[in-house]
Amino acid sequence: MSTLPSCKESSKLVQMEHIYKTFNKGSVNEVVLFSDFNLSIDKGEFISVVGSNGSGKTTMLNILCGFTDIDSGRILLRGSDISRLKEFRRAEFIGRVFQDPSKGTCPSLTILENMALADNKNKPFGLTQGVNKKRIDAYRTQLELLKLGLEDKIHLQVGNLSGGQRQALALLISTMTPIDLLILDEHTAALDPRSSETVMELTQRIVTQKKLTTLMVTHNLKYSVLYGSRLIMMHKGDSVIDVRGEEKKRLDVSHLLKVFNEISVECGN
């Protein structure tokens, strides 16, 4: 699938090196967000990222995906520099689920058509049959994993689904073809508590099953403690907490909340 040279057996999947990013440069609204930001992600890690508004979580994801340009620095994926690749080219290696459930699917296309499009990722979109009938059973099987009964509604337009159903579908769609990195951008934030639980459980199931390296931004401190093998708390464009393994397991929500409040008070939030 990849046009990137596969690198010499390094465990480092993603390296963000010396990232600088300033918004509205030269104006009164100038905001220096990242100055010399560094992050490296190991293969197989499931990282939860927390932090207050404006701490740079979402910008970090946007920079990784290529939605936001950087001023300087570089981003390596499996050892290759992807800093200059456009967003749609990076999508070959990176899957992303957004906060807004309508972003991950096409509302006026059916579930089947959405899945057929995603299934064809990284292949040519020519003049052959759009929905391959032979694949329908495979799609049904994948939908059954969601346990939402969507496998019986494959001809329904996605616009008719609820936010939770759409988000579950978006999660499935973004992981249909092999990817190096899955990015979850507050993907449960717009859902009601019950749908949010369902989507989170599903996330865990898919990530474990497909052994995906995952970067999840969340506002939910409970999820950040409960899920993932590493936790990062960001503040003013830097990571103030970065724990993994056993150390992360010992972490609890109250401690996290305390640190969170301390830094929030400090910057007047």
Partner: protein, 304 residues
């Protein structure tokens, strides 16, 4: 009764051809969500190129294909202005429309009207010559029907292909197209090419019907095509078996009927464009009124 039959014939003769244009605008406006004003320039482009080529003795069917290609090229221009130079969609269309005015004049060598009477056209060649005498007067309507049907079938088939599915996705959700590793800008350009190709084809066929090309013939085409798409959707949207392409053609025929009826009732021709604007307003307002509950009116998808 004869007058009535004559009117129906008149409506169908032009209705089917405007239907082809309406299908093109369906692609840009409904599928891509792109209000494309270049249509006013690409319609006469098709007509002028056809006139020039037929005078030069080119086969009329080949003329149609060349007109389609020229329209598609103009659509690509609109797309490049919008995607590569980041000019807003409305302005990109206006730029192409304005540029086409000169292009058309260059093609007609400076004359506003380029006649080609008694030359071979799609209406006087091949099968239409074999039509029995008593239905020969219906040949304009019949060939228009065949042309619209062929265009509709090709377009419907295209929308079911992988590329067609991706085109519909890019009008629906650009982020989705990006996330399956495709360039949404490229799909916009392709859609504009297809849409304007159909518009130029309609211009080509209509010029062959009247055996002359008029560089003013594009004025009001955007309004007519958009109104057709919206009327078709508004009146027939509830019928599940009808595809949006068919709805666009039916919308064009109904639109044309309204114009013909008004003229028949004694409206002076000077008021024609005013009437077109009024009809379009009525179509917009009524559909908005009918579809208040829908979040995105006019966005429809083919039943696949």
């Amino acid at each position: 009764m004869d007058i009535f039959a004559g009117l129906v014939r008149n409506i169908l003769e032009e209705g089917f051809i405007y239907g082809i244009m309406a299908m093109g605008v369906y692609i840009t406006y409904s599928v891509l969500d792109f209000p494309d004003l270049s249509v006013d320039g690409t319609f006469p482009l098709g007509a002028c190129i056809t006139a020039a080529l037929i005078i030069a003795g080119v086969n009329p069917l080949l003329c149609c294909l060349i007109a389609y290609a020229a329209g598609a090229a103009a659509g690509v221009l609109t797309g490049l202005l919008h995607v590569k130079l980041k000019i807003t969609n409305l302005l990109s269309g206006i730029l192409t429309m304005t540029a086409m005015w000169s292009v058309n004049l260059i093609i007609t060598k400076g004359s506003a009207v380029l006649p080609f009477y008694n030359r071979s056209t799609v209406f006087s060649m091949g099968l239409s010559e074999l039509l029995p005498q008593d239905i020969y007067i219906y040949r304009f309507a019949l060939i228009g029907l065949v042309a619209a049907a062929v265009c509709k079938i090709i377009l419907d088939l295209y929308l079911k292909t992988k590329s067609g599915l991706l085109l519909r996705a890019s009008g629906d959700n650009q982020q989705f197209v990006t996330s399956i590793s495709r360039d949404p800008g490229r799909m916009k350009i392709i859609g504009l090419a297809i849409g304007n190709g159909f518009t130029a084809l309609a211009g080509s066929i209509l010029s062959q019907q009247v055996e002359s090309a008029n560089i003013n013939s594009g004025t009001g085409m955007v309004v007519m095509a958009l109104a057709s798409v919206i009327i078709g959707r508004g009146l027939f949207g509830k019928i599940k078996l009808l595809k949006p392409t068919t709805m666009a053609v039916l919308g064009a025929i109904i639109y044309k009927s309204c114009l013909v009826a008004a003229l028949q009732l004694g409206l002076p021709t000077n008021y024609l464009k005013l009437l077109m604007a009024v009809l379009f307003t009525a179509a917009l307002v009524s559909t908005n009124f009918l579809s208040k509950r829908r979040s995105r009116p006019y966005v429809n998808t083919p039943e696949l």
